[in-house]
C-alpha cells in the first residue's frame, strides 16, 4: 500500500483514539451520562425482572444486553450535543481528520463506557452471587462488539442538528424502547409466535441478547457465529447513515 495512505491511516487511527480518550476523561461522570447510560439499564432490568422466577444467569445475560444497548447508544447522544453547546465540537470538526474518524472516536467512547458498565453486573453475579459463565471467550468478544455496534447506533440519533441533549434523547427513546420490547430480551425468542420472532430480527438487540445467552447459559436460539458476524456488520450499517447525517448537520451549521 502507498506510504502516504499508510501514514494517513496511522494518523486517523491515532486521532480517533485521541478523541475517545479525551471523551472518557471529560464525560465519564456527567449527569446525563450517569442517568441515561448507567442508571437507565438497571432500572429497566429491575422493572421487568424483579419477582419473576428467572435463573441468575438468565438475569445477568439480560442485564448485559441491556447495559450494552442503553449505555453504548447513550454516549453519542449525550456527548455530541454537549460539545455543540460548548463549541468544543467545532474544535474536532476543524481538526485535520475525516468525519468518519471523528465518529469512530465517538463510537469507541460509547463502547468503552458500555463495556465498563457491563462489568458491574457480571462481576457482582460471578463473584458475589456465584453465577457461572458458560463461554467466557464469547463474553470477552461479544460485549465489546455489541457495545461498538450500539454506540454507532446512538451516533445516528446524535446527528439530529441540536445543542440540547433532551432533543436527541426523546426520539432516541422512542426508537430504542420499542426495539427493546420486540427484541426477545424479556420474552425468549423460542417462546415467541412466528410473526413476533420475525419482528424481533429487526431489532439489533436481539443478536446481542442471543449472544449473551450463549455466553452465560451455553444456549441460545440463533447460531452464536451468526450473532458474532452480525454485530460488526451492524456497526458498519449504523456508521454509514451516521456519517451521512452528521455531514448533513454540518451543512445546516451544526
Amino acid at each position: 500500500m502507498n506510504e502516504g495512505v499508510m501514514a494517513r491511516l496511522r494518523d486517523e487511527v491515532s486521532q480517533a483514539w485521541t478523541v475517545a480518550v479525551k471523551d472518557v476523561r471529560v464525560y465519564y461522570l456527567t449527569p446525563p451520562m450517569i442517568m441515561f447510560g448507567l442508571l437507565l439499564p438497571f432500572f429497566l432490568f429491575f422493572s421487568f425482572s424483579v419477582r419473576r422466577e428467572i435463573a441468575m444467569e438468565v438475569g445477568i445475560a439480560r442485564l448485559l444486553a441491556l447495559t450494552t444497548f442503553f449505555t453504548a447508544s447513550s454516549a453519542g447522544p449525550v456527548i455530541i450535543p454537549l460539545e455543540r453547546r460548548t463549541g468544543t465540537y467545532d474544535r474536532l470538526l476543524a481538526a485535520p481528520m475525516s468525519l468518519v474518524t471523528l465518529l469512530l472516536g465517538k463510537t469507541l467512547v460509547g463502547a468503552f463506557f458500555a463495556t465498563l458498565v457491563s462489568l458491574v453486573p457480571l462481576l457482582v453475579g460471578v463473584l458475589a452471587l456465584g453465577a457461572t459463565v458458560a463461554d467466557a471467550a464469547l463474553l470477552i468478544v461479544g460485549v465489546p462488539l455489541a457495545s461498538l455496534a450500539f454506540s454507532a447506533f446512538g451516533l445516528v440519533f446524535a446527528s439530529i442538528p441540536t445543542r440540547s441533549v433532551g432533543n436527541i434523547m426523546m426520539p432516541s427513546t422512542l426508537v430504542r424502547w420499542p426495539l427493546m420490547f420486540i427484541s426477545g430480551i424479556f420474552v425468549p425468542l423460542e417462546e415467541m409466535a412466528t410473526w413476533a420472532r420475525i419482528l424481533a430480527y429487526v431489532s439489533p438487540l436481539t443478536y446481542a441478547q442471543d449472544l449473551m445467552n450463549h455466553a452465560m447459559l451455553g444456549r441460545g436460539y440463533l447460531n452464536p457465529w451468526l450473532d458474532l458476524a452480525l454485530l460488526p456488520v451492524l456497526l458498519v450499517v449504523f456508521l454509514i447513515p451516521a456519517a451521512r447525517l452528521h455531514h448533513r448537520a454540518r451543512v445546516l451549521g451544526y
Binding site: 467545532d90 474544535r91 476543524a94 481528520m97
Partner: protein, 330 residues
C-alpha cells in the same frame, strides 16, 4: 507564492435565507486581514465556511493552494481557529487541553511538550498548567484557546471576535500577540465588529453587508474614499451639551453628533467650518475648550457603507428642517 486564502463565488443559503451571496476575495500570505460587518451580515458564516465548519452551498475556497473541497486535510493542517467563545475543555487542565490539541494535530511528543511549555509561559499560564480550566477567568480561557489554536504552528490563524468581553489589559495582550504572530509570518484572518481594533491591526479589511462584500481595501484607502465624512470636533464651556442644534445650523454642517462632552460636526470642508465655530463661540461668550479637525475614521467608513447611524445622539439637518416646517404650520 500562493495566496493564503482564495474565495470564489462563495454562497450560503440556510433554507431560503441567503446568508452569504457569491462573495470573492483573496488574503495574501503574511497579512492581517480584517473581516468586518454588522451583526447578521454573514461574517461568521463566511469564517465557518473557510474553516470547514460549515458546508458552502456554492463556490470555491482555496487555502494555500489546496482546494478545501478536494484537499481538506493539508488545508486544515495549516489552520488554527480561535472561535468567539473560548471552546476549551473545562474538565481538563490547561496542560491537558494543549496536549489533546497537539495530539489531534499529530505534533510529535517531544515537540508538543516543548511547545506547550513555551506557549503557557508566553501566555502567563505556566503556573496554572495543572489547574482545571473550570477555575480560569474569561481572559485566561481566551489565552488558552489561542494557545491551543497555535500549538501546531499554523500558517493561517482565524480569530473570531478575539477581544470583546475582556478587560483592557487582556485585550491589549491579545492584540500584541496577534502582531507578534504576524511578525513571525502567520497570516491572520480577523473577524470583528471592533472597528478600531481592525484599524490598528489589519493590513487590509473587507466590509461585508447583507451577505455581500461592500468594500475591500487598506484602512487608509477606505478612509480616503470617504472624505465626505470629515469632521470638526468642538468642546464648549459652559453648558457645551446644549449647543447641538445651533452648531448644526452653521453653514456647511451636515450632521452633528454628541461625543461625550464634545460635538462632532460632519462637513465636507472642515477648514471653512473652523472660523464659523470660533465666531459662534465668541458670539455666545463661550470658551473653546478644544477644537480640532478629524479625517474619516474607519468606523465612519463602516457606518457609511453599512448604512448605519453615526453616534448615539444625532441631529440631522433634514430632521431639524422638518421639525421647523411642522412648527411653521402650527
Amino acid at each position: 507564492m500562493n495566496n493564503a486564502i482564495e474565495v470564489e463565488q462563495l454562497t450560503k443559503y440556510y433554507g431560503d435565507l441567503l446568508a452569504v451571496d457569491h462573495i470573492a476575495f483573496q488574503v495574501r500570505q503574511g497579512e492581517v486581514f480584517g473581516f468586518l460587518g454588522p451583526n447578521g451580515a454573514g461574517k461568521t458564516t463566511t469564517q465557518r465556511m473557510l474553516t470547514t465548519l460549515l458546508e458552502p452551498t456554492e463556490g470555491r475556497i482555496v487555502i494555500d493552494g489546496h482546494d478545501l473541497a478536494s484537499e481538506p486535510y493539508p488545508a486544515k493542517r495549516q489552520m488554527g481557529l480561535v472561535p468567539e467563545e473560548s471552546n476549551v475543555y473545562t474538565e481538563l487542565t490547561a496542560w491537558g487541553n494543549l496536549m489533546f490539541t497537539a495530539r489531534l494535530y499529530r505534533v510529535e511528543r517531544e515537540r508538543r511538550e516543548k511547545r506547550a511549555r513555551e506557549l503557557l509561559e508566553a501566555f502567563g499560564l505556566w503556573e496554572k498548567r495543572d489547574v482545571k480550566v473550570d477555575e480560569f477567568s474569561k481572559g485566561m480561557r481566551r489565552r488558552l484557546s489561542i494557545a491551543m489554536a497555535i500549538i501546531h504552528r499554523p500558517a493561517l490563524l482565524f480569530l473570531d471576535e478575539p477581544t470583546p468581553g475582556l478587560d483592557a489589559q487582556s485585550a491589549r495582550a491579545i492584540r500584541r500577540l496577534i502582531r507578534e504572530m504576524n511578525a513571525e509570518g502567520t497570516t491572520v484572518f480577523l473577524t470583528t465588529h471592533q472597528i478600531e481594533e481592525a484599524n490598528q491591526l489589519c493590513d487590509r479589511v473587507a466590509i461585508i453587508n447583507h451577505g455581500k462584500i461592500a468594500a475591500i481595501d487598506t484602512p487608509e484607502q477606505l478612509k480616503a474614499a470617504f472624505r465626505q465624512v470629515q469632521s470638526v470636533e468642538v468642546a464648549l464651556d459652559p453648558d457645551g451639551q446644549k449647543h447641538g442644534d445651533p452648531l448644526l445650523a452653521l453653514s456647511g454642517v451636515t450632521k452633528s453628533v454628541k461625543m461625550g462632552d464634545k460635538w462632532r460636526l460632519y462637513t465636507e470642508q472642515p477648514s471653512a467650518l473652523l472660523p464659523r465655530v470660533v465666531e459662534y463661540a465668541q458670539a455666545h461668550d463661550l470658551e473653546l475648550v478644544s477644537l480640532c479637525t478629524l479625517g474619516p475614521s474607519l468606523e465612519d467608513v463602516f457606518l457609511q457603507i453599512t448604512g448605519q447611524e453615526i453616534g448615539t445622539v444625532r441631529h440631522e439637518r433634514e430632521e431639524t428642517e422638518r421639525r421647523g416646517r411642522k412648527g411653521g404650520r402650527r
